[in-house]
Amino acid sequence: MGPLSVNLCGIELDNPVIPASGTFGFGYEFAELYDINCLGTFSFKGTTREPRFGNPTPRIAEAPSGMLNSVGLQNPGVDAVISRELPRLKTCFSKPVMANVSGFSVEEYVDVCAALDPQPQIGWLEVNISCPNVHGEGMSFGTDPNAAAEVTRAVKAVTTKPVIVKLSPNVTDIVSIARACEDAGADGLSLINTLLSMRIDLRTRRPILANTTGGLSGPAVFPLAVRMVYQVAKAVCIPVVGLGGVSSAENVIEMMLAGATAVQVGAANLVNPFACRDIISDLPRVMEEYGIKELNEIIGGASEWEKM
C-alpha cells in the first residue's frame, strides 16, 4: 500500500480521488486527454433501466463559485451501458469502476443493480436516492429514512458487490437518513448530491433552467458538504465518500479529515478537464506540507478533539 492508498468497502484504491457521477461520462472524453488509470476509480453516468433523454434545455446555469444543472439523468439505459459503454471503457480503464444507479421506483433500482451485478468491471454500486419516487407523490427516496432504507435493503438483496448509497443534502437531518441506510445494510455512503437551487434571468423574468430548478454544485457548496460528511462519518461505522465542491488536493485532505475515506470530484472536471489528474499529482506535495505520511491516517482526524 502506497501513502495515497485507501480501502473503500474492501477494494483498495491507489488514491482516494474519484470523479463524481455525471461529470465524467463513461470516461472516454477524459481518456483522450490523459491516462485515466491514474484515478482511484470513477463513478460513471447515472444509469436507469430505460434510456432517458433527460430534461429540456437550458440545463445549465452559473452561480457564484458554482453551477446549477438540471440534466435529468440523461443516459443510454442499463442494457446499452452493459453492451456498449462497459466494453468501450475496458479499452481505456483497467481498474474496477463505480456504477452509479438511479431509479424512480424500488423495482427499477433492483432491476438495474441486478443487471449490473454480474459485470466484472464494476467494483461498487453507488445508488443515487435523490430521484423522485413515482409511487411516493414525487417525493425523493433520499428525503425519507424509510424509503431510503427500503431501496438499500432491496438492492442489497440482488448484489454481492458493495453498495454505496449516495445521499441527498436536501433534508433537515441527513444523519437519520445515513443511519437508516446503514441499518438496512449499506456498505458505504457517499455525500453530498447537489443542492436544490434556482436562478432567474432578469431580462426574460423567467427561470434560467427550463426545468425551473436544478442542483447546485461547485466550491460554493464545499463547506456545507464538509459539515455533512463530518456529522455523518461520526454517526456511522461504514465508510463515507465525501463530495461537494472539491477542487484541490487541499480540499481532498479537508474532506478526509472530516471523515471521508475517499473523495469525489464533480463540477471541477467540467471547468478544468485535467482537475482530477492535477489533484492526484498535487497530493504528495500538499501531504508533505501538512506533515501527512499516509492519507489513511487522517480519515476522520477532525473529530479526534471531541473524544478528548
Binding site: G22, G25, R59, V71, P273
Partner: protein
C-alpha cells in the same frame, strides 16, 4: 482538444456591443471553421464558449457580443494579459460538400464563424455569397473584411436602415447556390431552414457546462439520435435537425 494559455494581442470594439479579440499562442488544436473555444475568466465559475472567427498560424480571432457579466469582464481585459483557453471544441463545418457556389448566412453574433469558413472556401476556389443580417445599421461589422476576402456580400437590416430591408431569407430567395452554411439566433435558423432549397449546415448555440461532451448540459434530439451541441455539434446537417427539440 487542448488547454492553452493564450496572450491577448488586441481587444477592441467593432460596434457598441461587438468586440474583436485577438489571441496569440499555440492554436494548433483549432482545425476547422465552425469550431469554438471555451474561455476561463477570473471571477466566473463556468467557461465562456465563443465561436472561432479566424485562425491563422499562432493567432486566433474571436468576435464576441457583450451581453452579460462575463463578456463585460472580458471587454475590460488588456493587451498582454493572458487567458486559459480550451481549444478545438466542436465538429465545425464540413467544407467538402460546399459545391462551387456556397451561400453563407450570418445573423448578428452568428456572423463571426462565417469569416474563416468564407476564407477557406474562397481559398479552395469556390465563389462565395455571404448574407449578413443585422438589426440596424449601427450594428453592422465585418462587411469590409468579407469584401476583402473576395466574397459577394449582401447586407440586410431588420429596420431597413442599411442594405436590403428585412431578414436574410429575403435575398436568399432570389439566389442560386450549391449548399448553405448558417449561424444565428434560432428564429433565423428556422426561417432559413424553411426558405432553403439545397442541403445545408446549421450552427447551434446552447448554454453549456463543460463544452467538451462530459456533462450532457447541451443535449438535443436529432433524427439520428441524441447529440451534444458542444461535441457532436455545434454544426448539424439540415437533414438531421428536429426543430421540436
Amino acid at each position: 482538444m487542448k488547454q492553452e494559455v493564450l496572450t491577448i494581442t488586441e481587444n477592441r470594439p467593432l460596434t457598441d456591443a461587438m468586440m474583436e479579440l485577438k489571441l496569440s499562442g499555440d492554436v494548433s488544436a483549432v482545425t476547422q471553421p465552425g469550431q469554438f473555444v471555451n474561455l476561463k475568466l477570473d471571477g466566473f465559475y463556468l467557461r465562456r464558449p465563443i465561436s472561432v472567427c479566424d485562425c491563422r498560424q499562432d493567432e486566433l480571432t474571436l468576435l464576441y457580443k457583450v451581453v452579460g457579466q462575463g463578456t463585460r469582464a472580458l471587454r475590460e481585459m488588456k493587451q498582454g494579459e493572458t487567458l486559459d483557453v480550451l481549444l478545438g471544441l466542436g465538429n465545425g463545418y464540413d467544407l467538402s460538400v460546399s459545391g462551387d457556389a456556397p451561400l453563407l448566412l450570418g445573423g448578428g453574433a452568428g456572423v463571426p464563424p462565417m469569416y474563416w469558413l468564407c476564407r477557406e472556401l474562397i481559398a479552395a476556389g469556390h465563389s462565395c455569397t455571404v448574407i449578413l443580417g443585422f438589426n440596424t445599421a449601427s450594428e453592422i461589422f465585418y462587411e469590409r473584411e468579407f469584401l476583402d476576402l473576395g466574397a459577394k456580400v449582401i447586407i440586410t437590416t431588420a429596420d431597413g436602415s442599411r442594405g436590403v430591408p428585412g431578414f436574410v431569407t429575403g435575398p436568399m430567395a432570389d439566389l442560386c447556390y450549391s449548399h448553405f452554411y448558417v449561424c444565428g439566433p434560432e428564429p433565423m435558423l428556422r426561417a432559413v431552414y424553411r426558405a432553403s432549397r439545397t442541403s445545408g449546415q446549421f450552427s447551434f448555440e446552447e448554454r453549456m457546462g463543460c463544452g467538451f461532451g462530459a456533462c450532457m448540459g447541451c443535449s438535443c434530439k436529432t433524427v439520428t439520435g441524441y447529440k451534444r451541441i458542444c461535441r457532436d455539434g455545434p454544426v448539424l446537417r439540415k437533414e438531421e435537425i428536429l426543430w421540436d427539440r
